[in-house]
């Protein structure tokens, strides 16, 4: 009798191991609240939750026994390559970098300036050029944000 196996995604096993480590970290942090907790103490529920996380991450890892790697993936190195190719495509890396830079820039360059630059650069990059229209769309977006959030919603912006 042939058995059907679920496919494991590239990187999934590593991620699930990281979740197990994270659960152990949460358990240690919960233990720090009041050591081994009594049934009704500030630490009892966090310890309980951490144990639930730990148990479920163990079950997730054990479930890999019922899964198989994509037959097109030859070995661990190839799996790493496929994972990087899927999730670290240039536009994803660039957007992540721009997002982090944008958040860092808000503090010293003000919200409107950094937002305009972020939008303009991202639009130009994503749209493969089209500089003029990207700059205009960014300016319109800034105007709408100002009108909507500052004038209508009266939100305080950084």
């Amino acid at each position: 009798m042939s058995q059907k196996f679920e496919r494991v995604q590239p990187g999934e096993k590593v991620f699930d191991w990281l979740l197990l480590l994270f659960s152990i970290g949460v358990l240690l942090e919960a233990y720090r609240i009041d050591g081994i907790p009594s049934v009704n103490s500030p630490g009892s529920f966090p310890v309980g939750l951490a144990l639930v996380m730990l148990a479920s991450s163990v079950v997730i890892l054990v479930s890999h026994r019922r899964k198989r790697r994509d037959p097109r993936i030859r070995n661990a190195l190839h799996e790493a390559q496929v994972f990087l190719h899927e999730h670290f495509q240039p536009h994803i890396v660039v957007f992540t970098f721009l997002a982090v830079a944008y958040l860092a820039a808000i503090v010293w360059a003000s919200f409107y300036v950094s937002t305009y630059l972020f939008l303009a650069v991202t639009f130009i990059y994503f749209r493969h050029g089209r500089v003029v229209s990207s700059l205009i769309i960014s300016a319109v977006a800034i105007a709408v944000i100002y009108a909507l959030f500052t004038l209508v919603f009266r939100v305080y912006l950084p």
Partner: protein
């Protein structure tokens, strides 16, 4: 009685509330329809802007967004074969083949009318059942609340992901995030990793915006260049004979939608799947084979997912347990405005309940108006490229998060949760259970400790109370059955049962 009527009609008679409901519904249709935007994302961002508003105004806008958004997803499912929302995934099965046959206008018109019928029936059930349920809930002990929250989170874990273990992990992760900060009773820091900044806890709106906004924006980067195939839309208003023909199916699937929607954590996506399955099993002679443009395959999910809206409000308003991710956000809005969702809401602030009922009905009327008009403008707007949409989503997330406490650290947390959410999503974890965990985690902790205190901190007495109190026994049994249903024991028991 006259008070009830005045609260019911408040949104209908106040021009400002009327306008906000209309705006919310219209915006919801677009938010729900544009792939990459979601109702939960919009409601999460919106909650931070409406902090300072009057509660009725904030609720009117959110109810409109919710009702419009659940429906809006169907439009792109029919026109572009891209469901704008998870609840419209099933709609695409028959909606898109209908559009390919040149019947896009009729399909949109029929789905609009059926969505409104479902929405109104769901509202009717909410109005009829919630007061009784709230009365019953007043008798609940903290132990019962604890069990209901456990059951809700368990159902979320079971129904919303690819495995129970992943669902339970997501819920526990969310609940742990919800517990970060000082303990309510002893003021002891919990899960703060020694950080002073975390003593005040992590605001759940920050988590919501990160998980639903930023994570989705990153996830959509994989489809940056996907170009949808456009369809021609002609006559949109369906003939009355057509509406009457599908009305019985619509009523049946409305009931399915309300029941499924009322289960904590399920929502319109699961309701539409159940309804589609029901239609497939019960309709003997569909207009076309299912999956090839059957109107029955369009009517069933569209009625059910809008009926689920009313259903989702039932546990949220009567028990303080959100029915799905959007009602979790709305529950947050009620708490922020100093209200107490749960059975006391009906006693302390009945006007909020009746206002919500009236407002839901009004939003459905606006849905009918906006759903049957403006299709030409709509087809243009939904074509907005992701290259423009994704950076704008990030900017909105920044504005939304910063506006909560004017704190840039929370914005960095939001990005962190967004990146975490992206990876969780990639590896099959759902965001809904995490958010429900964040919301229900503190409630679970509180009710658990109250229940323990009531039995003198005795674990044995607590366990005994679970089986000696009738309601607790029912809830414990249901929890045990749900857990059992996820184990190999279920298969074994089923085979034994069939053998006998």
């Amino acid at each position: 009685m006259s008070d009830t009527f005045s609260f019911l009609l408040m949104a209908w008679l106040d021009p400002q509330l009327l306008l906000l409901t209309a705006l919310g519904t219209l915006a919801g249709i677009y938010v729900g329809a544009i792939p990459g935007l979601s109702v939960t994302m919009a409601a999460s961002i919106l909650i931070s802007f409406t902090f300072s508003w009057d509660i009725n105004n904030a609720l009117a806008l959110m109810v409109g967004i919710y009702v419009g958004g659940v429906y809006g997803g169907s439009r792109t499912a029919i026109l572009l074969n891209i469901p704008g929302a998870p609840s419209a995934v099933v709609t695409a099965f028959d909606g898109y083949p209908l559009a390919q046959r040149g019947e896009a206008g009729q399909a949109i018109g029929l789905s609009t009318v059926m969505s409104v019928i479902g929405g109104l029936l769901g509202t009717l059930v909410l109005a009829g059942s919630a007061p009784f349920l709230a009365d019953m809930a007043l008798e609940f002990a903290p132990r019962d609340y604890f069990l209901i929250a456990v059951l809700g989170l368990l159902l979320v874990s079971t129904l919303s992901g690819k495995s129970l273990a992943r669902g339970i992990f997501s819920v526990a992760l969310g609940a742990s995030i919800g517990l970060v900060g000082m303990d309510m009773v002893t003021a002891q820091p919990r899960l703060t990793m020694g950080s002073m900044e975390l003593l005040g806890g992590i605001h759940y709106v920050v988590v919501m915006i990160g998980l639903f906004g930023v994570a989705e924006a990153f996830y959509q980067l994989h489809n940056l260049t996907k170009v949808p195939i456009k369809q021609k839309v002609d006559k949109i208003i369906p003939p009355l004979s057509m509406v009457l023909k599908y009305l019985p199916l619509s009523i049946r699937t409305s009931i399915i939608g309300v029941i499924v929607g009322a289960l904590p954590g399920t929502g319109g996506d699961i309701a539409s799947l159940f309804a589609y399955d029901h239609a497939k099993r019960t309709v003997k002679n569909p207009s076309s084979p299912f999956g090839e443009g059957a109107y029955e395959g369009l009517v069933a999910p569209e009625t059910a997912n809008n009926a689920a809206v009313g259903g989702a409000y039932v546990p949220m308003l009567t028990l303080g347990m959100p029915g799905d991710a959007v009602t979790a956000v709305i529950l947050g809005a009620l708490v922020i405005h100093g209200l107490n969702p749960g059975p006391m809401l009906m006693i302390e602030t009945p006007h909020i309940f009746w206002f919500t009922v009236g407002n839901l009905a009004l939003a459905n009327i606006f849905l009918l108006i906006f759903g049957l008009t403006g299709i030409k403008v709509f087809s243009k707007v939904v074509e907005v490229p992701k290259a423009l949409l994704i950076p704008l989503i990030l900017v909105l997330c920044v504005v939304g998060t910063y506006s909560i406490n004017s704190n840039m650290t929370e914005v960095y947390w939001m990005l962190g949760f967004g990146i975490l959410g992206y990876w969780l999503k990639v590896f099959g974890f759902q965001m809904g259970p995490v958010i429900l965990g964040v919301i229900l985690g503190p409630l679970l902790d509180e009710t658990y400790r109250q229940a323990m205190s009531s039995v003198g901190d005795s674990g044995g007495q607590f366990l005994l109370a679970l089986v000696t109190n009738p309601l607790s026994l029912v809830l414990t049994t249901v929890i045990a059955l749900v857990l059992l249903g996820q184990t190999p024991a279920k298969t074994w028991l089923t085979s034994q049962f069939q053998r006998n």
